[in-house]
Amino acid sequence: MSNKYIGKAVKRVEDKRFITGKGKYTDDMILPGQTYAYIIRSPYAHAKVNSIDISHALSAEGVVAVFTGDDIAQSGINGVPAGWQVNFKNGDIMKEPPHPLLVGTGSTVKHVGDAVAVVIAESKEIAADAAEMVEIDYEVFDAVVNPADAVKEGAPLVHEAAPNNIAFDWEIGNPKAEVDEAIANSHHVTSLEFVNQRMIPNPIEPRSAIGLYEPSTDRYTLYTSTQNPHLIRLLMCAFVLGIPEHKVRVVGPDVGGGFGSKIFHYTEEALVTWCSKQIERPVKWTSERSEAFITDAHGRDHVTHAEMGFDKEGNVTALRIKTFANLGAYLSTFAPAVPTYLHGTLLQGLYTTPKIHLDMTCAFTHTNAVDAYRGAGRPEATYLLERLMDLAAHEMGIDPVELRMKNFIPPFDGVNQPGYQTQVALQYDSGNYQEVLKRGVAMLGYEEFRKAQAEAAQSNKLLGVGFSTYVEACGIAPSAVVGALGARAGLYEVGQVRVQPTGKVSVYTGAHSHGQGHETTFAQVVADKLGIPLEDVEIHHGDTETVAFGMGTYGSRSLAVGGSAIVKSLEKIIEKGAKIAAHKLEANVDDLTFADGKYTVNGTDKSVAFGDIALTAYIPHNYPAGLEPGLDFSSFYDPANFTYPFGCHIAVVEVDKETGKVSLKRFIAVDDVGNVINPMIVDGQIHGGLAQGIGQALLEGAIFDENGQLINGSYMDYCMPRADDLPMFELDRTETPCPHNPLGVKGAGEAGCIGSTPAVVNAVLDALWSGGFGHVKDILMPTTPERVWRAMNS
């Protein structure tokens, strides 16, 4: 079968509506009779709500209702749950204190932004004005914001039920004693204490939700800026509001970016849904940006001590890590999985390290919840490994490229060679790590760079190069595996292919596109598999009413899992079509070949087009006996394994010796995301990931003061990467197919973000080392000018 679309840079079909201003995001909707919610939030990180007086607000003209946590509690509503359970080392179940929709009188707020009351009014102006009339008396307590501090004796407690603020502790890898011994026997040990700082995802569309209750049918609709409508419906119905799932429709319309932060079931979604029932009118809440800063789930936030042992030849002998991970005030949907199963399992990296141990303590603090942010656990693992690699190379006087090459796992394709079994539970599917590094180094022009660097070392503008090679686990995930690891949901995907009588094709996927271009990529697969024009295919997503089920989009899973589900349905379509074709052609099914949109009797010119088959399936006058009419199949695809993209990222920076200012001069990325359906879209995904990873290295990072106030909670202080902060990216790729899914694809959404951060920080350090500051081991991220200057002047 010839591919007309697969592998081609097909322009996106979704673009038309976005470039003309016709996209439809949640906040663009105004439903008939709609009211507006303003949520009153705690200005304190830790305080008891002594009293709430809503009387003035309630009597203001245009105010429809005011609800407090007491109202919610009285109606028996639960808090939002975590979707993943991780147990303590000793087997005890993790601490999972309730996360109420609104904190009631007598209870304590646990982070700045914790919701206390909601005002619902005829307009957003009235709601905002009336919110100022609600009087709340707080009794303020001390707060704790750092995960390593939180677990110390005497630290302020976030939840009574979680002594020492420990949500759970956890370990993975070889027995600790073996790793201790291997470290002790190492010729050289590179040791690093560092922080992987807290990141704020900042999709440009702030979250928004509209709850609609229709008394006439007793049905609810929730429009929400989410990455996974079905999961939201399941969690909200079964765990929070206790309403029947078949009475609820959840729609994730156009969504303006997510990066993880719109995966989770947020309290506001349940709140507007509940409120709409109380007042029997639609209720809309749209987050303001200041509000988003203190209510969206954040990412990363690890405090780590890591040691990597080497033998005399530079072979890695062992890796030992102690990390404190901050989970924030409440357990968000995927929070327990991120520092554990999405992080600890990646500590093998691309290396043959024989002994690995991670000791993880996950702590509650008086801050926003921390959950998956683009890469989710894997950037933290990569940062740890790749910082250690460049530092070890520096300490041992070995070239960082050579050190990696020496320690790489040899190439394996997962077909002729088996997958690679790591020390930390995973089995990698296929990889050729040498090749991506080789290509990256060639693109850099390594020798010339080192010459230029030596010259620059004499000036005030130092040059540095940083390397990072990564492997990650995505295409999330085999249900049985994640179930054994504590997931409270399966992680399969659903793909329905409905061939219409005229041969046009409607596809329904449980994946959700919020920038990834599914409407194009998935259509390319369908059009090629059926041999029909791309225009004859339409991809539907984001509505629980039209899509049978789904687990949504995150973990770079949409094509690997969602695309595979569609392929399964396409196979069923083609197989059934063959029976109809055989009947029409008076041939045997086994003698038919389906290619280029028609069934042909082998060795003849007798054929029937796919469109004819579709029509016959719906007008079955002359039809195979016993065969059902119609051509419409739905499939669930549960992957056999994660997929394991890998790559090499190289950063070149210039450091102003006088000011410490870092300028990113070049960024090279050679990624292998398996087979590529649309190279244009894959490159775009890499670009975006790089910008976020570079943002973490150079510009971004949440700063809480000791009282739990987010002191850079606006774009005037939290530095988002802008066009003039970044260079043009230099991209290349290799394609090592995934051996266990039908498309051979691995996933591209997070790769850029996973590999890039350590490359940039390594480059900054390399610049300093070249300039005579060889003693500098670490600079906190973001590597702001002052931090770099201080490192040089310490």
Partner: protein
């Protein structure tokens, strides 16, 4: 995102604007709105009346009068950055104006609004101090002209009374051969100055150096000026920068780092004008 309620009045003359200001219990002048509107949206400020002065023709126009560059208070940063009169006479003002905020901010924000707001990290105050500019203020009691030196009085403070309107900024055109520059170390998120150093050196050697972002408000650094004016090298003169003033500190630049930057930027500016 939703301001408190207020009245809006559009003045067609300065006199009308002053009258409205006198009548409101808490009236504020609305220029380009790029300081005031964000504060209203976050409910940090709640005037009962806004007086829009941006359509008062007499507040607009850039031109040269008798050796003085005259800029109307309601001119936008963009208009100033692209004015041939500014570029030909005091190019560093154009350079400074084009370093403010971003394109959209420069298209709407005005010089009058910026200096009235007197943000310590804003660019205009330092630029006008180094330019030895005067500010023309019209108030209930008539019109007065004050030097930029006297205009800025502290952290977000100026000598403006609540009923005053800035009408013009007047800048003496320096002698032929004068060199000027504006060097800005930018706060990457807000794009305000962490350190902005404006320097003007006349052929006589007389030098004016002013800083934005360093202290509670923009200031002329007399130690640097006198050293440079009397022939000290850029390096030597710059080493005297930002001494004896209170230095701001935030998570982008602590006090000692900011002071260090002031010296670096003073040197870079002085090298540029030498």
């Amino acid at each position: 995102m939703i301001p408190h309620s207020f009245d809006y009045k559009r003045a067609s003359s300065v006199e009308e604007a002053i009258e409205i200001l006198q009548n409101g219990s808490y009236a504020k002048v609305l220029g380009g709105g790029h300081s005031l509107v964000p504060a209203l949206k976050l409910r940090l400020n709640a005037p009962d009346t806004l007086v829009d002065v941006t359509r008062i023709e007499s507040l607009k126009g850039i031109g040269i009068e008798d050796g003085t560059l005259v800029i109307g208070a309601a001119n936008t940063h963009h208009e100033i950055a692209t004015s041939a009169d500014v570029q030909n006479t005091l190019s560093f003002l154009a350079k400074g104006a084009s370093a403010i905020g971003d394109v959209q901010v420069r298209n709407k924000g005005t010089i009058g609004g910026s200096i009235a707001h007197a943000d310590p990290s804003a660019d205009w105050p330092a630029l006008l101090l180094a330019a030895d500019a005067s500010i023309v203020i019209q108030g209930a009691d008539g019109t007065k002209t004050v030097s930029a030196q006297d205009f800025f009085t502290g952290f977000f403070s100026t000598i403006l009374e609540e009923t005053d309107i800035i009408t013009q900024i007047r800048i003496p055109i320096p002698p032929e051969g004068t060199k000027s520059t504006y060097q800005k170390f930018v706060q990457p998120a807000s794009r305000f100055a962490i350190v902005g150093c404006a320097a003007v050196k006349e052929p006589s050697g007389a030098t004016r150096v002013a800083f934005a972002g360093v202290s509670d408000y923009a200031f002329r650094d007399e130690a640097v000026e006198s050293a440079s004016s009397s022939g000290a090298s850029a390096e030597e003169a710059a080493s005297k920068a930002a001494e004896g003033v209170s230095i701001m500190s935030d998570h982008y630049a602590s006090e000692d780092y900011r002071k260090h930057l002031a010296k670096v930027y003073a040197r870079r500016a002085l090298v540029e004008v030498s």
